[in-house]
């Protein structure tokens, strides 16, 4: 399989690399649009969404990422999920619009409201050695998914609210599976790549 790209503007891109290492999946860092060539999938990591946004706008990344996502899987965590959303609130900001959800930034509040939670995962996430175990979600100044269109599948929920969703080739989580040793979410993403969608 061709390597998975990890956007390395800023943020916890190395943590995603380690998560893929644990699954034996090849990856490389991406800092320029031309580096998207030859990748099987793309991860938009956690970080600061405003910083990512300035960078993606100034260096003309929007179209290359949209084109990439039309044929290959893209996975965003936290700030990455904010970038993928159709609509962003608190404050309102531009986004790629690849996922038909509305997200609210810092939906739980400031750092003091960051938390580790156990979330309810759908059966299709119960893959690999961790299958059946509780799925831990590390939420750091995390966004909240306020609304999702009907074609968006919810793969994990916290208190009934969507925290991991998929629409076609796009996967997005408000939490950080890359900061735990549980490989299920990354394994699911690699499965999307292997399935050719």
């Amino acid at each position: 399989m061709a390597p998975v790209g990890i956007l390395a503007v800023q943020g916890d891109f190395q943590a995603h690399g380690k998560a893929l290492d644990r699954l034996g999946t090849a990856w490389r860092l991406v800092k320029k649009p031309s580096e998207l060539n030859g990748l099987s999938g793309l991860i938009l990591p956690g970080g600061e969404s405003t910083t990512f946004l300035k960078f993606l706008q100034e260096e003309a990344w929007f179209e290359p990422i949209r084109r990439f996502a039309s044929s290959r899987p893209v996975f965003g965590t936290c700030a990455g999920a904010i970038l993928l959303a159709e609509k962003v609130e608190n404050p309102s900001q531009d986004s790629l619009g690849l996922l038909h959800v509305t997200v609210r930034r810092n939906g739980y509040g400031r750092q003091l409201s960051s938390s580790v939670q156990t979330v309810e995962a759908e059966p299709e996430l119960q893959i690999g050695p961790e299958a059946g175990a509780p799925l831990e979600a590390v939420l750091i100044r995390a966004p909240v998914i306020l609304r999702a269109a009907s074609q968006v599948r919810v793969l994990a929920r916290l208190h009934g609210q969507a925290v991991l969703v998929r629409e076609g080739t796009v996967l997005a989580g408000t939490f950080h599976p890359e900061l735990t040793s549980d490989g299920r979410v990354h394994r699911y993403f690699c499965g999307m790549i292997a399935d050719g969608n």
Partner: protein, 293 residues
């Protein structure tokens, strides 16, 4: 529970990696910083260059200013407290700042003891000049380490000295046999368990950023090349002639720290950098880095 809290504290630092944290003294500067792509802002009463020039006691920023900054930006807001001033830290925690910098830039409140940082829900960043100092701060609960450098000097030499010292000491520890670690712990004055952890993992148990004297995009790229995972820029931005442009250029330089063509682009047409001081000719009493231990 305590372990989960510490994961959340270092977790936020993970999100800041590869970014630039900018010192700001008011809401307008924080807006400029966010617009330029800062990953966080650091609120303080005066930038280090002014503290150095004006003297007097430097304390945490005014609450009014921090509130105004919190209203203005959506990125994390950090604020500085004096070394050992637990009450200032409690105030900032009640204000829900996202990170507290227990900083040598402010006038120390306690010359013997730093804050017991494990007692707080808000994460702390602390300065260090070498690995022993970094591990003492982590032992007290710091979730992020930055080099001290020499704040407000506009001179990168001390930040370079400190990041090199920390990275070198980590590498050296990783080569030592187990039986030599206790003696190292004693020599460094660092907690034994943390010394073992560093020797085993070959890295600090928390992210490792750089600060103190960075003034140009190339300065920022240099400390990144030496092993820093993100940078703090203090006086370097708002003491230059064109803060917007310089802030943006430093952000870009940190992302592309290994790409000379981009660094060239970042270094062009920046206006004047802050003037800068020759640290080697400064009096010991004028150094900020020797505050704390």
């Amino acid at each position: 529970m305590a372990e989960q809290l510490f994961r959340l504290k270092t977790g936020l630092a993970e999100m800041l990696k590869g970014g630039v944290i900018m010192d700001v003294i008011n809401a307008e500067q924080s807006r400029i910083a966010e617009e330029a792509g800062a990953v966080a802002v650091m609120a303080l009463e005066r930038v280090p260059a002014d503290i150095r020039k004006e003297g007097g006691v430097a304390r945490m920023a005014s609450i009014q200013v921090i509130r105004a900054i919190q209203k203005t930006v959506s990125i994390p807001v950090m604020a500085k407290v004096r070394i050992g001033h637990a009450a200032e830290a409690q105030v900032l925690q009640a204000l829900e700042v996202d990170y507290i910098d227990e900083s040598e830039v402010l006038t120390p409140a306690d010359e013997e003891h730093h804050i017991h940082k494990h007692a707080f829900g808000v994460p702390f960043v602390c300065g260090a000049r070498n690995l022993g100092e970094a591990l003492r701060r982590i032992g007290e609960g710091a979730a992020l380490i930055r080099t001290k450098g020499e704040a407000g000097s506009g001179n990168v030499v001390e930040a370079v000295r400190h990041i090199r010292a920390i990275v070198r000491d980590i590498r050296r520890l990783a080569t030592l046999p187990e039986e030599e670690l206790m003696s190292e712990s004693k020599k460094m004055g660092a907690p034994f368990e943390l010394v073992r952890m560093v020797a085993r993992d070959g890295r600090l148990p928390v992210p490792n950023f750089s600060a103190g004297g960075l003034a140009t995009p190339a300065d920022a790229a240099l400390v990144m090349q030496l092993g820093a995972e993100a940078v703090f820029v203090g006086s370097g931005i708002f003491k230059s002639t064109d803060p917007e442009r310089r802030a943006k250029a430093i952000v870009k330089a940190v992302t592309h720290y290994n790409d000379p063509a981009v660094l060239l682009e970042c270094s062009e047409q920046l206006g004047e950098a802050m003037r800068g001081l020759d640290v080697a000719s400064m009096d010991e009493k004028d150094l900020l880095q020797t505050r704390g231990w």
